[in-house]
């Protein structure tokens, strides 16, 4: 009886078996921790906030994130020091270049030095016409505070626009208080440089540059349909 008991004890403490189990559990643990970290990284994949605008000639968001190698050559070649590489606290994926229009808008240099500096094609270095740039689109988001809607002829957004009368025009409308001049953005010519947003006289800008998919509607096959 006693002998039997001892036998089973020995079996339990078989050192080779124990080592095997240790190894298995260790690997299992590593895989588990690795996949938790991995999954959280994928799920929390940072994306750009609406107020962070990309330099001219940038690829669409997902392609930009994979192509940009975060070297900052565009930032260094910007003559107005507008661009910045995002840190962890900034509203864009880490290390990618961005600017905030309300702080400093893109000055739309004719020779586009930032795009020319890009080694990877995240910015189109072959772009020749800055007016074809698409950094976003200006939208007059607030009709309640905009001074032109209140009957005052502020029109600052129209006056500062680098492609005035093409990207923004003043359209007269009749209202009960009289004739109003409404700043109207034409999305096909607006480059999203943000000069209008920068100069809006209000405490919070009534006109803002938004990413195109956020700032514009899109009609379906049928003009009033969803798809």
């Amino acid at each position: 009886m006693a002998e039997q008991k001892q036998n089973s004890m020995v079996k339990l403490e078989d050192p080779a078996k124990r080592e095997t189990f240790r190894q298995i559990f260790k690997r299992f643990g590593v895989v588990l921790v690795g996949s938790i970290i991995g999954q959280s990284m994928i799920l929390s994949r940072p994306s750009r906030a609406a107020e962070a605008l990309r330099p001219p000639g940038a690829l669409p968001d997902l392609d930009f994130d994979s192509s940009c190698i975060r070297c900052g050559l565009c930032v260094e070649d910007c003559p107005y020091d507008i661009l910045k590489l995002a840190s962890w606290a900034d509203p864009a994926p880490q290390g990618t270049p961005f600017f905030v229009a309300r702080e400093e808008p893109c000055r739309m240099c004719k020779d586009i030095p930032c795009a020319k500096a890009c080694p990877t094609g995240a910015l189109d270095r072959h772009m020749t016409d800055i007016k074809k740039a698409d950094m976003g689109v200006a939208v007059l988001v607030d009709h309640e505070t905009c001074l032109n809607y209140k009957g005052m002829t502020c029109s600052i957004c129209w006056r500062v626009c680098p492609i005035r009368d093409e990207a923004i025009t003043l359209e007269p409308i009749e209202s009960e208080t009289g004739r109003l001049l409404i700043p109207t953005v034409h999305s096909d010519t607006c480059t999203g440089c943000g000069t209008c947003e920068k100069h809006c006289v209000l405490s919070e800008a009534a006109i803002r540059v938004l990413p195109r998919e956020l700032g514009l509607g899109l009609s379906g096959r049928n003009a009033v349909g969803r798809s």
């Binding site: 590593v30 690795g34 991995g38 990284m41 994928i42 994949r45 940072p46 997902l62 392609d63 994130d65 994979s66 192509s67 940009c68 190698i69 975060r70 070297c71 900052g72 050559l73 260094e76 070649d77 590489l85 840190s87 962890w88 606290a89 994926p93 880490q94 290390g95 080694p119 990877t120 094609g121 995240a122 270095r125």
Partner: protein, 281 residues
């Protein structure tokens, strides 16, 4: 007095050369020379040297490729220049002569020795290979440059870490981990950039070569192994199984050459050996 100073300089010649190169590279990205500008523009992921030579880090470009980007020509050429330099000539030289994080981890190791900090969590040196694989897989799945979210090397240059809270915390934790938890943990065990350059520079021709002398044999001091940040690379040389260090893990830091007072070790660019060996066969 002067002689002693001279001797001390000589005994740290590789260390001094290494620090000079490291700090010069860092300063080249920062200092504005009046009338010229900066020697190097960009950062270590991609840079332009002297306004002409375009260089790109092959590991970062590889992540970009895994993330699904097509590789543009300027970046590819830059990566071929850098990759070729390490693959055919210098081996894993990047870690000890270029990388700015090495300054920090070397400081941690120095303090560790100075204050005789004992605790050491043992990590596997192959862990860095797993992290390397993980960062490529995550780039593939996530569609973004996975390691660049963490990478202290480029983050250091992007935001001069101590001015940014998140950066300072990352650097600080890395430093404390190296200091208190595990010896040479970051550069020797965890960093996938080092692992990448180790694999890439596996056959680099710049090698620590041994010509054992009588006194080396008799004393068997092994001081070179004691100072080596990757001690396993020297083991076959000390055991006289190999003429030179062949492991890709050797960072060519020269610590062993500084330490060896017998003159048994030297750093050799073995270009001729490569050719003659082939003709022998």
């Amino acid at each position: 007095m002067l002689a002693r100073f001279g001797r001390s300089l000589y005994r740290h010649r590789w260390l001094l050369m290494r620090r000079t190169v490291q700090i010069s590279i860092l300063l080249a990205f920062i200092v504005q020379i009046p009338g010229y500008g900066k020697i190097a523009q960009g950062n270590l992921s991609s840079s332009i040297l002297f306004g002409e030579l375009k260089l790109t880090d092959p590991f970062i470009l590889l992540q970009s490729f895994f993330a699904g980007s097509s590789i543009a020509l300027p970046a590819l050429l830059g990566a071929i220049i850098v990759g070729g330099f390490y693959a055919f000539l210098a081996g894993r030289l990047y870690c000890s002569w270029v990388c700015p994080i090495n300054l920090l981890t070397d400081l941690a190791y120095w303090l560790r020795k100075k204050f005789k900090i004992k605790g050491n969590m043992s990590l596997s040196r192959s862990l860095r290979l797993w992290i390397l694989a993980l960062s490529l897989v995550l780039s593939l799945l996530g569609g973004t440059l996975a390691w660049e979210i963490v990478n202290p090397i480029t983050r250091f240059q992007r935001e001069l870490m101590w001015f940014s809270l998140s950066g300072a915390m990352l650097l600080g934790s890395l430093f404390l981990f190296d200091l208190f938890v595990s010896r040479r943990a970051w550069c020797g065990h965890l960093c996938p950039v080092g692992a990448f350059y180790g694999l890439l520079g596996r056959y680099g021709r710049l090698k620590v070569t041994a010509t054992p002398t009588e006194s080396c044999d008799s004393s068997g001091c092994s001081r070179c192994v004691a100072v080596c940040p990757e001690p396993h690379v020297l083991a076959p040389v000390v055991a006289k199984q190999a003429q030179s260090v062949t492991s890709g893990d050797c960072t060519r830091c020269g610590a062993c050459l500084d330490e060896c007072h017998e003159g048994s070790l030297s750093m050799k660019l073995d270009l001729v050996g490569m050719v003659s060996k082939k003709t022998d066969q």
